[in-house]
Amino acid sequence: MNRIKQLAINEEGFVFDPLTGDSFTVNQTGLFILQKLKEGKETEQIVKELTEEFEVSQEEAERDLIDFVEKLRSYRLL
């Protein structure tokens, strides 16, 4: 079960996990990725959208996405 779908995320980057009561803050890029994950998008697609939306190379976006996902796992959000 993808817990991301249950997260309450607001426009300012405030994230609330109703299951645990934990709250988080994300920056603009983090928010962008969380929304894509919530929509159920795959890694490749998200990387592509990141490079379209932001001034970033595919390599860097890919690397950062992996890192971000690992971080989400460490918070048990994935």
């Binding site: 709250s23 994300v26 983090g30 962008f32 950062d64 890192d67 460490s74 918070y75």
Partner: protein, 450 residues
């Protein structure tokens, strides 16, 4: 137009978080783009990374500030540069130019000082392991020999016989000044009467002439009053010796130990708050001198300040080589320098500066060095924004004890440069290569790979 990119960051909001890391996740990191006007990028381009950088300007300024704190308060002051703190020639040369004599603690350091062109009479020879050879040379060259134990008294008496003249000596004493741990393994203890026994022994031998007292109460001492106590006890003991044994105590060497503006691990106060200014130490020391010395008596006051003079003049530029995510969610960076170069990382939490503005909020991060060893950690918990490979991190203060205690373990030691007062940059220790490390090795013929 595309939006400006920031690395994605998510941070858990926790109570107690601020206390644990001492700063908020949004707190901007300090940026350093140059050292004394020389750009970090230029330094690394020319001399590589990692790179030790020592500022001549800051070294001289610090020396002058500490020296004048004492000369403004007392008429007879001499500084001895504590070689072990940093014995790179260029560092010693700057401090000798400023007027410091040499303070050495081994035969190696004695040779180093002589090789620098320092005369024996301008060398203070401390330490528990002075070989007979070194002692004899020091005696012949008129060095200030500070005796550490009874065996050394015997050694010196033999040497006095051999060279056919009396040798001037001082003794090192240790005492309770309220500082813990008490450094009681060097010299003769005052409170137990051991120090007095040493004086008696020297007097009865008749071959040595006692003319000074030495003491070093510890290092990174944050309590100025400890020096007040040290000086009081030294002066009283000096008069006891003069009154009962006929020796004239010409100088009191109160050692080193003043703290630098560094942060000891486990302390949360920034150094600017935790570390008293040197003037406060000078005030306690000279107050104690004036309240205990007899009128008109101004024995020479010698100081062997090390760390406080050189620490803040030293920087280490490192480069982020890689990053990873730890299982507990913390970010980890692998820098190209670790505890191999930063021995003092074991007790200091360094000031960390980044060579550029970095977008993104800070997250709990660990900085590892390049060694394949679990203990190779430069910082086990600091707040850093997401850093790209190739970002430079500048660690400071690192001028004290690293260029002497660094180790050659699986990596070469890098260039050390000095940014001179006119902003030119000189290599003061060239980076090592394989030949430096293998020069002393011998491979038996029969083991050679054919």
């Amino acid at each position: 137009m595309k939006k400006i990119y920031q690395k994605p960051v998510i941070t858990k909001l926790q109570t107690g978080f601020m206390n644990k890391f001492g700063s908020s996740p949004l707190y901007a990191r300090k940026v350093r783009t140059d050292i004394d006007g020389v750009p970090i990028s230029e330094l690394v381009e020319k001399f590589g990374s990692p790179l030790f950088v020592i500022s001549e300007k800051q070294l001289r300024e610090k020396y002058r500030q500490i020296y004048s704190a004492f000369t403004n308060r007392y008429p007879n002051v001499q500084f001895g540069w504590s070689y072990k703190t940093n014995y790179l020639k260029a560092v010693c040369a700057v401090l000798h130019q400023e007027g410091a004599i040499a303070e050495v603690v081994s035969e190696f350091e004695y040779e180093k000082a002589r090789n620098m062109g320092i005369e024996g009479k301008d060398i203070i020879f401390n330490g528990p392991h002075k070989t007979i050879n070194a002692l004899k040379r020091a005696a012949l060259e008129g060095a200030k020999i500070h005796i550490d134990h009874f065996d050394e008294i015997t050694d010196l008496e033999h040497i006095a016989d051999e060279i056919g003249k009396q040798i001037k000596v001082a003794i090192r004493i240790n005492m309770d000044t309220g500082i813990h741990p008490q450094w009681d393994r060097f010299g003769f203890n005052l409170e137990t009467g051991q120090a007095l026994d040493a004086v008696k022994r020297i007097a009865s031998g008749g071959k040595l002439v006692l003319n000074g007292l030495h003491c070093h109460i510890g290092t990174f001492i944050l309590e100025p009053e400890a020096y007040g106590k040290e000086v009081e006890k030294m002066v009283k003991f000096a008069y006891e010796i003069e009154d009962n044994f006929g020796f004239k105590i010409e100088y009191l060497d109160i050692g080193g130990g003043f703290p630098s503006k560094n942060r000891l691990k486990g302390t949360y106060l920034p150094p600017d708050v935790a570390v008293p200014p040197v003037e406060e130490f000078a005030e306690k020391i000279t107050d104690s001198l004036y309240s205990n010395l007899r009128p008109g008596d101004f024995p020479k006051l010698i100081l062997e300040t090390g760390r406080a003079i050189v620490d803040e003049a030293g920087y280490l530029i490192t480069t982020v080589f890689a990053s990873k995510r730890l299982p507990d969610g913390r970010k980890a960076y692998i820098a190209d320098a670790g505890v191999n170069l930063l021995f003092t990382a074991f007790w200091y939490k360094f000031n960390i500066e980044i060579d550029r503005e970095v977008q993104g909020s800070n997250e709990p991060s660990v900085i590892y060095g390049p060694l394949c060893m679990n203990i190779d950690i430069i910082d086990e918990g600091t707040m850093l924004p997401p850093l790209k490979r190739g970002t430079r991190l500048i660690f400071s203060p690192v001028g004290a004890y690293n260029n002497t205690q660094w180790m050659q373990f699986i990596e070469y030691r890098p260039n050390v440069v000095m940014v001179m007062e006119d902003q030119t940059v000189e290599i003061i220790r060239e980076k090592e290569d394989l030949s430096d490390i293998e020069r002393r090795e011998r491979l038996p013929d029969r083991l050679k790979i054919k």
